[in-house]
Subunit: 336 residues, 2 copies
């Protein structure tokens, strides 16, 4: 059962495909198509249940109206939420989104980029993995529009939308210090990526500015692929070496989950034994026995900005780079 094409309509009405194309794309004025014939064409199109073939359109116009979204893992709530805002925003610009999960692995990222490029996406939104600098540079050389999200490479001039990680982290730790905590540990990812480094830096500076001894030995880095296993070991060791730790700052939502689980299992009470601040929200917090303070990234705003910038780059390759730092809020929760 062949789908109906522009040609079918043209034949049915008795005009050329050119007219049909103009009318169906609302270019009647530019093409000065007759009023009545336009009406007839439109009617026939509806009657036959015509659906434009976007693939054919793309081939001709060089625009697929599709964008590629590469995140670390679509099943991670942080990225799932980002994906949703991007989906909604993209729709407003008439874009459809193809997504892929890189699992923080450069080779998977490269593979995804290739596949999406073959699919002729008009642009990318990418949460770049460690070691993907060359991939990003290559995109740049090919003049393919993209905007990085969540992280970026300081040494490469690109569009990006990220939260102000340093500041968010600094405030979070300052908050702990102000509420009287004197030995604050941080659990982070083992990653050279700027977002994590900035979070660590914010933590360290906040310690220093609060007159605490350098936290160097109190920042622990976990492998992305073994969070659940490593978090327990690492925190266990930390508490053994430093029984006087009185607060934890968790560098991401997955780290928070793992860390809180450890604290629960080992019967550390929050906030009596240790205080906790988490980077990113989790719906799990709502059910936790203690109110949890966390850094709240404005996902909706990030998604909006990313699409806005990308759409701008697509329609004008010469558009100026945009580097957006959005501010995260520290949501302080306490009812004691």
């Amino acid at each position: 059962m062949k789908r109906v094409s522009i040609k079918d309509i043209a034949q049915a009405v008795g005009v050329s495909t050119a007219l049909v194309s103009y009318v169906l794309n609302n270019k009647e004025k530019e093409a000065r198509v007759g009023q009545k014939i336009a009406e007839v064409i439109r009617l026939k199109a509806k009657e036959l249940g015509y659906q434009p073939n976007q693939i054919a359109k793309s081939l001709k116009t060089g625009r697929s109206q599709t964008i590629g979204l590469i995140v670390a893992d679509i099943s991670n709530p942080f990225f799932a939420n980002i994906a949703r805002t991007i989906e909604d925003e993209a729709k407003k610009y008439n874009y459809t989104v193809i997504f892929g999960s890189s699992d923080e692995a450069a080779d998977k990222s490269q593979n995804l980029i290739n596949i999406l490029l073959e699919r002729q996406v008009d642009g990318f939104i990418i949460a770049p993995t460690e070691g993907s600098e060359e991939q990003i540079r290559s995109l740049q050389e090919q003049h393919i529009p993209f905007v990085l999200i969540d992280r970026y490479f300081p040494e490469i001039s690109t569009n990006f939308v990220v939260t102000n990680n340093y500041q968010a982290s600094y405030h979070a730790v300052k908050h702990l210090a102000r509420s009287g905590r004197r030995k604050i540990a941080m659990i982070a990812y083992k990653s050279g990526l700027v977002h994590m480094k900035e979070r660590e830096k914010g933590y360290l500076d906040a310690l220093a500015d609060s007159g605490m001894e350098s936290g160097q030995g109190l920042v622990k880095e976990i492998s992305y692929n073994f969070i659940q296993q490593e978090v327990g070991e690492v925190m266990g060791q930390l508490m053994k070496d430093h029984p006087d730790i009185d607060a934890f700052f968790f560098g991401s939502n997955a780290l928070s989950m793992g860390g809180l689980r450890f604290l629960n299992r080992n019967n550390y009470r929050i906030p009596d034994d240790v205080s906790v601040v988490c980077f990113d929200e989790s719906e799990a917090f709502d059910l936790f026995y203690a109110p949890l303070t966390f850094v709240n990234q404005p996902l909706l705003e990030m998604g909006k900005e990313a699409i806005r910038i990308l759409a701008g780059q697509i329609s004008d390759r010469a558009a100026a780079l945009e580097q957006v730092f959005v501010d995260s809020a520290l949501i302080v929760r306490t009812d004691k």
Copy 2:
């Protein structure tokens, strides 16, 4: 900067585009292309950094190697996890996935289907919304491959992969009864969709089989769009009307979250005041003060099956329908 095409390679090597096409698609044997020339072509392709244009390929072959995934909401952990398994499985079959969220609204679903159809997806995986029967029938009439997931329409013969909702629900409630609960309420969605209806039926039958009075008055239905508001009101009213309720069965992950939040806020202790069983897992359970028993759907298996069936339908439109019921496990958690 034009991307390099098959024509560029042909010219550079001095052969026809036909040869290049055959070689690059590994059809040298069928086309009996010369060994050496094949090698030269391959080399030149690599040298020029050739990337096939999948759009052009699609137009010619009528296959986009793309599948459309329609879920209720990609930011819902249940669907985000499904999406991930589908992404991974699809890749194995060389498919790429475009997704969209319907928000359980039939008009959005229709809109998504249209957009994806225009994009020439080879098939769909759909968690159908209430009232989308006609959309599904229409897909069927157009002989477009698809498989429903999570829910289906009993009155329409289609492929689907769903969990055995009735059974899962029945066991869950039986479990509560066996552990001595005598007045079990259920919080469900207001929905005519079979998955929710079956869950309610399983609940009712389990009550009856356990010698409890009909639970009719103890099933409450919440509007999808107002969970957080309604759940509190509804449960508050329930507890007022039936102070002797000693257990709740929550019909979905979002309902569980809302319900548990209500219990927390109102200081009902689990399991001392009320017992709870949830449909679907949530990472929030790990951090909850009490061990939570839940129905665990095998998402990975569901994703695998869905793609397997869809791929089968795509390559053979005449393939027999497949209706898969996977079994969910009741994960009993208790350390008291």
